[in-house]
């Protein structure tokens, strides 16, 4: 019997764990409902691509044409899957 190949599972991580310069696709918003809702309303919903530009603690991110500042607490609500590593 041929060996079954494990399906490709992209790495899931919090936005706070995403390195600066990397991009991820939002898979899930978790935590306080109000914060999740505000994030969705501001365009950070499931399946959106978010790029972490810079920052420690408070993050600077890009979501399509919008640049967002997210404090650590807010960024903790966003679970992404890595789609592009940090550019060298």
């Amino acid at each position: 019997m041929p060996p079954t190949r494990e399906p490709f599972r992209p790495q899931r991580l919090r936005l706070t764990e995403l390195p600066n310069g990397a991009a991820g696709r939002v898979c899930e918003l978790v935590g306080q409902v109000e914060v999740c809702q505000r994030l969705r309303e501001m365009g950070v919903g499931e399946s959106i691509i978010i790029e972490r530009i810079s920052g420690q603690g408070t993050l600077l991110c890009q979501v399509s044409n919008t640049r967002l500042a997210l404090s650590e607490g807010a960024a903790q609500h966003i679970v992404v899957e890595l789609i592009r590593s940090a550019r060298p």
Partner: protein, 708 residues
């Protein structure tokens, strides 16, 4: 070229028909204020929504036939699910929930063309309201720069309502917009949006209850029902009609049921709207490939850099303060001279007597003392407006957020605290953008600890008395001054930390803030905003100060001393003098005598009044700029037992007292307005003045023990 159908339609309204009232709504940073100013020019009225500290801006523009059209500029918001008092007002006006403002007939939705999808979210909610809507696609130039080609005609066709492409900054598209606004009939949107199946029954039931129990119109009821489901913390502001008990009950029972099933109803609703918007956007927006880093990206690389960012912020802040204190000097002197001239003129034209003294010393002198600060406040607002309009302010808040979060505040508290260095009143007014009520309250409570410009004259006088030798290096004087500023700032941060851990315990601060692209500042908008703020400052502070000045004048003028008494003798035996004597046991442990006590009492109106009161008490003609004669008079002052009154230690103690004490009636009045209760301003006065007493006591007694 044929005009689009909505523009070409002939006007058919009868002349008697009432001109429609438009509400102007949009996301923050979409150019809403610029469009409002471009439409209404100087025909604006700025007031307050009763009971809430949200500005109500109403302006008049004219139709193509010269008929006046009223435009209400509503606070910017990303969604009708409100998160701050400002956003709650927008929601309530649009839904017709406010008793003081009728529901607008039509809505002008301004949209940032470069961020179409996100901006359409609010439009999508507004289309639910069933009012005629005009969509204004602003910042088309930025959209082109971002490589986006927006098919305006297609969007218009899809939505079925007028869509006007516009660049409000250069006035492009305004003629077309005015024409569309002049139309007597506006079509309703083709807004066939199906509520997602899991929550559709709830929306129907809540909407039915809203019609039956809250007497809403069916169309509005559906929009409200949808909104109630996403109105998470439902910010209620006074002046808004509350929901009926029956509707609340239905809403809560649905929410309980979904919570038990694990249905994320709010998430489903938002995502479903975005799905509809996404479908629309694929029809309307053509992306011309990827563009490289924009100018904004390149500037951000420096301005938000962990090292360079701080450096830029430092330079900007230094420039701000240098300009506040240097550029304002000449107009401040001018105001000072002219209030004095006015007082002299009145003196020359009125017979001597109490009424004349009341007008010259009480009213003109008192109001003059606060108007003197107007130039500084105008420069401050000009700079803040400039920094906001270029997009830098949001970056400053981003850089400061990490530091502020250590004491439990977020980056948005930075602007109010910064403004408070000039004057706590605009600082406290600037807290309105802070979404979290507790964060806002903490910022209001600590803002007056930032050394405002009214403390400067006191610091200057005390430094002059402390270091009387003119040869003492400037560095020492500046050093003491900086020490006072640092003490105040440290106090503000320390108390913020304390309050966030005890009294106003809340979740760790969260900041979700959009950083708008950099733009050239709209000087006209900045100037308009500056004038508007200056007007508010004058009205608010002016009325309070006028009242207090008259009371203080009365306290210092009565009871009358026998004829021929000097001003010093008069003051000594007046109510104020007696109060000073009564206060002496409390302030003696701080090294202050009853004469300083009079200064503390009179400067409760405004801190800088301390200097002029000392002038009267010690009978020295002096001004705020030239403290030399008063300095010498202070040096000569003695306790009854012959000890020197103003020892260096007492001067230092007095400065420390002024760093912390809440010596400002206007601030108390503004805090009362902003918090809608007397509880917080009273608490603030007690904690600040209490801290001032304790710290001054420690410094003075320690100094004494060490032999100073």
């Amino acid at each position: 070229m044929a005009l689009p159908s909505h523009i070409a339609a002939p006007p058919t309204a009868s002349p008697a028909a009432r001109a429609p009232v438009y509400a102007l709504v949009g996301n923050p940073n979409c150019g809403k204020s610029t469009l409002f100013n471009a439409l209404t020019g100087l025909k604006q009225k700025v007031g307050n929504y009763p009971g809430v500290t949200v500005e109500k801006k109403v302006g008049t523009t004219y139709s193509q036939h010269g008929q006046p059209i009223t435009v209400i500029d509503l606070p910017g918001t990303y969604s009708l699910a409100a998160r701050s008092p400002d956003e709650a007002v927008t929601r309530d006006v649009l839904l017709g929930r406010r008793s003081d403002t009728a529901q607008p007939d039509r809505v002008l939705c301004i949209v940032d063309a470069a961020n179409l999808e996100r901006n359409l979210y609010l439009v999508h909610q507004i289309l639910d309201l069933g009012r005629p809507v005009i969509v204004v696609l602003n910042m088309m130039d930025l959209a082109v720069q971002a490589g986006l080609n927006i098919r305006v005609a297609r969007l218009e066709k899809e939505l079925g309502i007028p869509v006007i492409a516009c660049e409000a900054v250069n006035g492009k598209g305004l003629v077309e917009l005015r024409l569309a606004m002049s139309r007597p009939d506006l079509p309703l949107a083709r807004h066939a949006w199906g509520v997602p199946a899991p929550i559709a029954p709830a929306v129907s039931e809540i909407a039915a209850s809203l019609v039956e129990n809250d007497l809403k119109l069916p169309l509005i009821a559906r929009a409200e029902a949808l909104l109630l489901l996403t109105d998470q913390d439902s910010v209620r502001v006074s002046g808004s009609v509350p929901l009926s008990a029956r509707t609340t009950e239905i809403l809560q029972s649905w929410q309980k049921r979904w919570a038990a099933e694990g249905t994320d109803w709010a998430g489903i609703l938002v995502n479903s709207r975005y799905e509809a918007i996404g479908n629309l956007a694929t029809e309307v927006v053509l992306r011309a490939g990827t563009v490289g880093p924009t100018a904004s990206d390149k500037i951000d690389a420096v301005v938000t850099h962990p090292v360079w960012g701080w450096l830029v912020l430092g330079v900007v802040m230094t420039l701000l303060f240098v300009s506040i204190f240097t550029l304002a000097q000449a107009p401040m002197d001018w105001i000072g001279t002219h209030t004095a001239l006015l007082a002299d003129w009145v003196k020359g034209h009125m017979p001597a007597g109490d009424l004349r003294d009341l007008i010259t010393d009480g009213a003109i002198g008192g109001v003059g003392s606060i108007v003197t600060f107007l130039p500084q406040i105008m420069i401050l607002f000009f700079f803040i407006g400039l920094l906001e309009s270029t997009g830098y302010m949001a970056r400053a808040a981003f850089i400061m957020d990490r530091l502020m979060s250590r004491v439990g505040l977020n980056g948005k508290s930075f602007i109010p605290l910064l403004s408070s260095y000039a004057c706590a009143i605009p600082g406290i007014m600037a807290t309105r953008t802070i979404e979290d009520a507790k964060d806002r309250l903490v910022t209001i409570l600590v803002a007056p600890l930032m050394s405002c410009s009214a403390r400067l004259p006191v610091y200057l006088l005390m430094i002059a008395a402390l270091l009387p030798n003119d040869r003492v290096s400037l560095v020492a004087k500046v050093g003491i001054m900086l020490l006072m500023y640092t003490l105040g700032t440290a106090g503000a941060f320390g108390f913020a930390w304390l309050f966030k851990r005890t009294l106003l315990k809340g979740a760790p601060p969260l900041m979700i803030m959009e950083l708008p692209p950099y733009r050239l500042p709209g000087v006209r908008d900045v100037l308009l905003q500056m004038l508007e703020r200056a007007g508010i400052f004058l009205r608010r502070a002016g009325t309070v100060i006028l009242g207090i000045s008259i009371v203080l004048w009365f306290l210092a003028a009565y009871p009358k001393a026998p004829a021929g008494a000097t001003p010093t003798q008069q003051l000594a035996q007046s109510f104020a003098g007696r109060a000073g004597h009564a206060l002496e046991p409390v302030i003696k442990p701080l090294g202050f005598d009853w004469q300083i006590g009079i200064g503390l009492i009179s400067s409760f109106a405004a801190r800088e009044v301390f200097v002029s009161t000392m002038g009267v008490v010690f009978n020295a003609e002096s001004s705020e700029e030239n403290t030399a004669p008063l300095r010498d008079a202070l040096k000569a002052a003695r306790w009854p037992d012959g000890r020197v009154l103003f020892t260096p230690l007492v001067c230092l103690s007095l400065m420390i007292f002024y760093v912390f004490a809440m010596q400002c009636m206007s601030t108390i009045a503004v805090v009362r307005r902003e918090t809608n209760s007397w509880r917080w301003p009273l608490f603030q006065t007690l904690y600040m003045t209490g801290t001032a007493w304790i710290l001054t006591f420690i410094v003075y007694q320690t100094g004494r023990a060490l032999g100073f």
